[in-house]
């Protein structure tokens, strides 16, 4: 993506295509990582409702994991989970 030169980029800092936020992987902002413990999860989906980055991965109406490409590590999912099914660990440490 960064290979474009001054000749290819449009003037004025314009972004020509709409809906390109998905191209920007915000996961590298994370300093803490949420770990999902499926065994404790009761599938209440509080975490899915509350995650500001829509990073709870849902399949067949059930949480199956976390999308680390976009999860910023805010810890909201851990905070709202009534069953301690999400744990925050230091990024770069043991998982």
């Amino acid at each position: 993506m960064s290979e474009k030169t001054w000749k290819e980029v449009p003037m004025g800092g314009l972004i020509l295509e709409a809906g390109n936020a998905a191209e920007y992987l915000t996961g590298d902002w994370r300093t803490e990582r949420p770990i999902f413990h499926e065994d404790k999860c009761k599938q209440c989906l509080f975490c899915w409702i509350c995650c500001p980055d829509t990073s709870m991965i849902i399949k067949d109406k059930k949480v199956i994991g976390i999308d680390y490409d976009y999860c910023k590590g805010c810890g909201i999912c851990m905070e709202v989970c009534p069953f301690d099914a999400i744990e925050m660990v230091q990024e770069g440490g043991d998982e």
Partner: protein, 389 residues
């Protein structure tokens, strides 16, 4: 059509004849008459434009930028403190590549309050990425405003431009001004049609974020290139305007009797007319004096100054502003332009007319006489007509 117009009225009529579509503005002495005249023209049914009364100059420029992004031809006007309040948005206008055209009345900066001619307000906007012009007459205000739309809206330029005229000497002095025909101006300017605009049918993001590893530096580089394009365009447009409308102003640098001159004065704005009179008088007495009027300050006419310097012995630069801690801005920039040339002329800097102090024939004669003085003085010693002990 010939009319008797002040510099302010000429600016208002020029925005009309150029068909500015959106005019967000905030009044300030001595610019107020521009806003009033535009309101009159709208009320009289002569001018079909969207006039927006803003709550501040900062907001006025924000609105002008937005209107320009939609693809509307935009005009505004301000002065002094108002221009300073706009400063942040001036950067935004050039950064977002909106060809807003603005008339600034050169007025001193407070404190103490002083509403008279002084170029410090626009000089302080030097690095905002705006094209900067200085005018000598009300007619030139009219013609240059029209020219600026042609220059700025060119797809290779797309930068905002500021036209400055001295407080009262131009803003409130009336003289005969010829307003070109509407049809001819329409043909000359064409429609403003930027390559990208705010359009729900074809959405783009404006004012985005760019990281250090991405293209912020490249976006800035493109502004630098656009300024170089503007340099060519300014000369071209002035020439073309001259062919069609019969008036042109010397392109980047307006030379007057410089061909065989030993001493050349350099200045911008309304004092130019006084200088021409003095040059004529001295020429009659056999002195080889000329005048180079700084019509464009950004982009800077460096090449034009180098050609001039090759032919003259002394250049006296008159600054109606001062950069504290150094010297007048024109003086600094002209010397920088001449760096490294063979046999450079003597370049002397004079600070004159600050806060509207009159620039008289005698002040100018004293400068020319002083230029023969071989002793180079520091910048604080060359304040002309200062009340000294």
């Amino acid at each position: 059509m010939k009319m008797v117009l002040s510099g302010n009225e000429a600016a208002a009529y020029a925005s009309m004849i150029a068909r500015a579509e959106v005019i967000p503005a905030y009044p300030i002495t001595p610019q107020t008459k521009i806003v009033e005249k535009i309101a009159d023209l709208i009320a009289d049914g002569k001018f079909n434009t969207q006039f927006i009364k803003m709550e501040s100059e900062h907001s006025a420029m924000a609105a002008a930028i937005s209107a320009s992004l939609v693809g509307a031809r935009t005009f505004t006007a301000t002065s002094s403190q108002g221009l300073l309040l706009m400063h942040e948005m001036l950067h935004w206008a050039s950064g977002s590549r909106t060809p807003v055209v603005m008339v600034n009345i050169n007025r001193a900066i407070a404190p103490p309050w002083n509403v008279w001619a002084d170029q410090s307000d626009s000089i302080a906007q030097r690095d905002t990425g705006w094209i900067q012009f200085y005018c000598e007459s009300c007619q030139e205000v009219m013609d240059t405003t029209i020219q600026l739309y042609k220059i700025c809206e060119d797809n290779d330029v797309l930068l905002p431009a500021m036209l400055s005229e001295d407080a009262f000497y131009l803003s409130h002095t009336s003289e005969p001004v010829d307003m070109p025909d509407q049809d001819a101006v329409d043909t000359f300017l064409g429609k403003f049609d930027p390559p990208y605009k705010l359009d729900v049918e074809n959405p783009h993001s404006f004012g985005s974020l760019s990281m250090p590893h991405q293209w912020y530096m490249e976006f800035r580089y493109k502004i630098a290139l656009a300024m170089e394009e503007a340099r060519k365009k300014i000369v071209e447009v002035d020439r073309e305007y001259g062919k069609i409308f019969g008036r042109s102003y010397g392109g980047m640098l307006d030379l007057y009797r410089c061909d065989d001159a030993d001493i050349v004065l350099v200045a911008a704005g309304s004092m130019s007319s006084t200088i021409r009179v003095v040059v004529d008088e001295l020429r009659e007495n056999g002195a080889k004096v000329g005048f180079a009027r700084l019509r464009v300050f950004r982009p800077f006419p460096a090449e034009e100054f180098r050609s001039l310097a090759a032919k003259v012995g002394t250049i006296c630069v008159l600054d109606r502003s001062f950069c504290f801690g150094y010297e007048g801005a024109f003086f600094t920039e002209i010397k920088a332009a001449l760096y490294g040339i063979d046999n450079p002329p003597l370049v002397r800097g004079y600070v004159i007319g600050i806060g509207g102090r009159d620039v008289t024939r005698n002040s100018l004669i004293n400068i020319i006489n002083d230029s023969n003085n071989p002793e180079i003085k520091g910048p604080v010693d060359t304040w002309v007509d200062l009340k000294r002990c």
